[in-house]
Symmetry: C2
Subunit: 520 residues, 2 copies
Amino acid sequence: MSELNGAQSLIRTLVDAGVEVCFANPGTSEMHFVAALDTVPEMRGVLALFEGVVTGAADGYARIAGKPAATLLHLGPGLGNGLANLHNARRAHTPIVNVVGDHATYHKQYDAPLESDIEAVAGSLEGWVRRSEHTKDVGADAAATVAAAQDAPGRVATLILPADASWGEGGETCAPIPPRVPQAVDATTVKDVAAVFGTGEPVALLVGGSACREEGLRAASRIGAATGAKVFVETFPARLERGAGLPSIERLGYLAEQVAYQLDGIKHVVVAGTKAPVSFFAYPGKASDLVPEGAQVHTLASVAQDVTRALNEVADLVAADTEPVLAPESRPALPSGPLTPQNWVEVIGALLPENAIIADEANTSGLMLPMATAGAPRHDVLTLTGGAIGYGMPVATGAAVAAPDRPVLNLQSDGSALYTISALWTQARENLNVTTVLLNNRAYAILRLELQRVGAASGGPKANDLLDLSRPDMDFVKIAEGMGVPASRATTAEELAEQLQRAFAEPGPHLIDAVVPPLL
Amino acid sequence: MSELNGAQSLIRTLVDAGVEVCFANPGTSEMHFVAALDTVPEMRGVLALFEGVVTGAADGYARIAGKPAATLLHLGPGLGNGLANLHNARRAHTPIVNVVGDHATYHKQYDAPLESDIEAVAGSLEGWVRRSEHTKDVGADAAATVAAAQDAPGRVATLILPADASWGEGGETCAPIPPRVPQAVDATTVKDVAAVFGTGEPVALLVGGSACREEGLRAASRIGAATGAKVFVETFPARLERGAGLPSIERLGYLAEQVAYQLDGIKHVVVAGTKAPVSFFAYPGKASDLVPEGAQVHTLASVAQDVTRALNEVADLVAADTEPVLAPESRPALPSGPLTPQNWVEVIGALLPENAIIADEANTSGLMLPMATAGAPRHDVLTLTGGAIGYGMPVATGAAVAAPDRPVLNLQSDGSALYTISALWTQARENLNVTTVLLNNRAYAILRLELQRVGAASGGPKANDLLDLSRPDMDFVKIAEGMGVPASRATTAEELAEQLQRAFAEPGPHLIDAVVPPLL
């Protein structure tokens, strides 16, 4: 009989499998897990004040670390609070070991106030859910959960941990279980897809998933350069490597109109590590399927397969002697004058440090960002994969935990900021190198646009009022300072540049409340 | 063919059924609903910046208004963000018309980024879920949802509204459908339960649900006074009427140890409008069932029945000539000196205005509140029925919308405040008369207690760090001001009294950051 309780066997097993960080918002049913942290020094506990910060941070951590973090959530309501960012993680194929505490097994029959259907909510993630009923099984269940989370292409795997399984004696650790690695694409598919590029008809190559890293992008760029195919990155990549010295590949647009323009005249859409493009939302009288009429879709590799290898194989067939097209070093000049939707991105492009991580939730304010940063030093961009807003601040937090030596830049729209604003407190607590540029246009600007795009009657006063964030104006300097993060306000490009340089130069988090008028 | 679209028929039907407020955090798929607000002047739209505020406000509104508000949530992730406060509403039996927008019916097959299993998440509330697939049915579905929400004892009823059902033409309004009213308790049960009070053995009467209003409490008090039974209110009543001139009935304790003391020696537990007491959490080696060993449980009325009438009938049998025991007018003297867990509640008791509504999420800081306010002017107390923290600020917001002429006092612990802090912005936007007293003890104090109570090894440094909110200290004055709410800090009883009087005297919201040391 071991001398471990269930919680200790769990944490020990996680650490042995390489899971070294737990983002936590615990309650009573998780107190043994919390106590057990002191018995396993290799596990770092990071406290958040809201579960959406926990789950978003776990997402950001894994996107950068390349391996999962654990969460610690308090029963069904805690899982509910974390669900939106788990949804984003699911869409990003991010591995997360999602630990949800529950009542003791024998306590559930009493329908105590916090009792709820955890399986139903976790199951909505279409992931993997296991309930660990017996202390002696907790270690094995934990190892299975870590493997499930890492099975290609990665997923949110939920381990429900009843309090008595956690506190019981007789816990047994379990050795790591190797996860399922990405499968190679068969040679016939590679050959057939390669032939598509030789038809002489216009081809678009759309890459996603793990192919959004350097190696996949280089292969895609070679294919485009050799064959004339238009190459695009999926609209919301989980992690996109870009900047000077890397291929600069345009992302497919968010709006159906943009995509129609990008794919105009295309006869073949080759998808690699993603799916054929669909509209983010439906609009009256407009198609949901964004593949041009009459065009054929060819799948080179699903997101669960070895996309990069398949792209390399196609490139070797159709572009053997072609080099990828790499972005030259190039930064915009530092602009001046009052902030505009155009000049703030130029400030970012001009000053982005080496090896930065951008957590991008700038939404409408960031439409011109990609051009301004294409020739900036090499950096990663993390995007809003699932469309559930309130992702930026938590993901930036987790990314900074994963890469303490890299500068993290969170570009954050005001309308999305309040969902998970307490991430700032965790950034302060952990002294994380996150610089938040809060794009404060005082509106749900994207919804003003969408109100028109869906064909809703032009907004009356009540409708417009529901899209207006200016009554009262939020003062993000005060909000950030209230959570322990030094903050300042920028209304001109010069102020933004000066404050951004200072923020990057000083350790720890900073927030800049950038008052930028709406683009639209 | 009508000239209404689906959204217009929905809102018109809601208004006709008495639903006049919609708390909303909309997105693209809800834009037609937003636009339709301008065509139905009777419907008020109240914007929140996070869905937990929306759902908590709908809960608080209905607890005070006695009828449902509607929500407007954005697809599955929006529902997820609102789930914790819907859980509390479910436990409170609060009627809520929970409107969740979804993709257009024909768009769902494309598995666009925001696609998720809304039914699974809504179904976890064990409520009532309907998807309105066709525009012409939206009105009828809305009427059915309102009725389902109000069917005794009240519930969260979810209406999933696809975007094309909303924007389609040919909407038809539907007349209100009468909800199921509470059933009367049969005469035999009344007689049998009345006999329990005549056995000569010690009896406890535990009342809950709708019996926590004046009439039910008066009947319960009469029964106690005439028979010697101990009378208790359930631990977390949705709405408890109390104060001078009303029966002052002790609530059953939160901790099992308190309940053991309260029910010591009891042989019969009569429950009316609630269930037999169970422990909030399980603890190693302690019972979950808090009914004393050997005692019998007798159910007078379930929460769905006419509890108050049944109590009156029992009282007429066993206490025909007995008057209820009413709390005399009595306020504590205004204390002085640095704030303590004892003196801050005395300030509240001394200054609570007439007809106030208390949204109580003071948690450990509020343990001594009931005594200090028992003789204050008549007031309502709303409590954390489901245990999902982050309820206080939104519920206070909704209560103030329901009762604009009543002062609302939100007693808010710091550990629970950050989940739904943006409720302050909605309070400022709507100029609501909410005074928030933020009990800032800089710890998850309840978890410090629970860490010991669950028998976890005494907390090591990592465990204690996860329960500590002092690194960094939060400055709730700045946070509130950043969201447009005037705020001040109190460190002494005199300061709290002065600031509280000012807050009650001025219209609109105020926050007082009351620096109170932890009780424990």
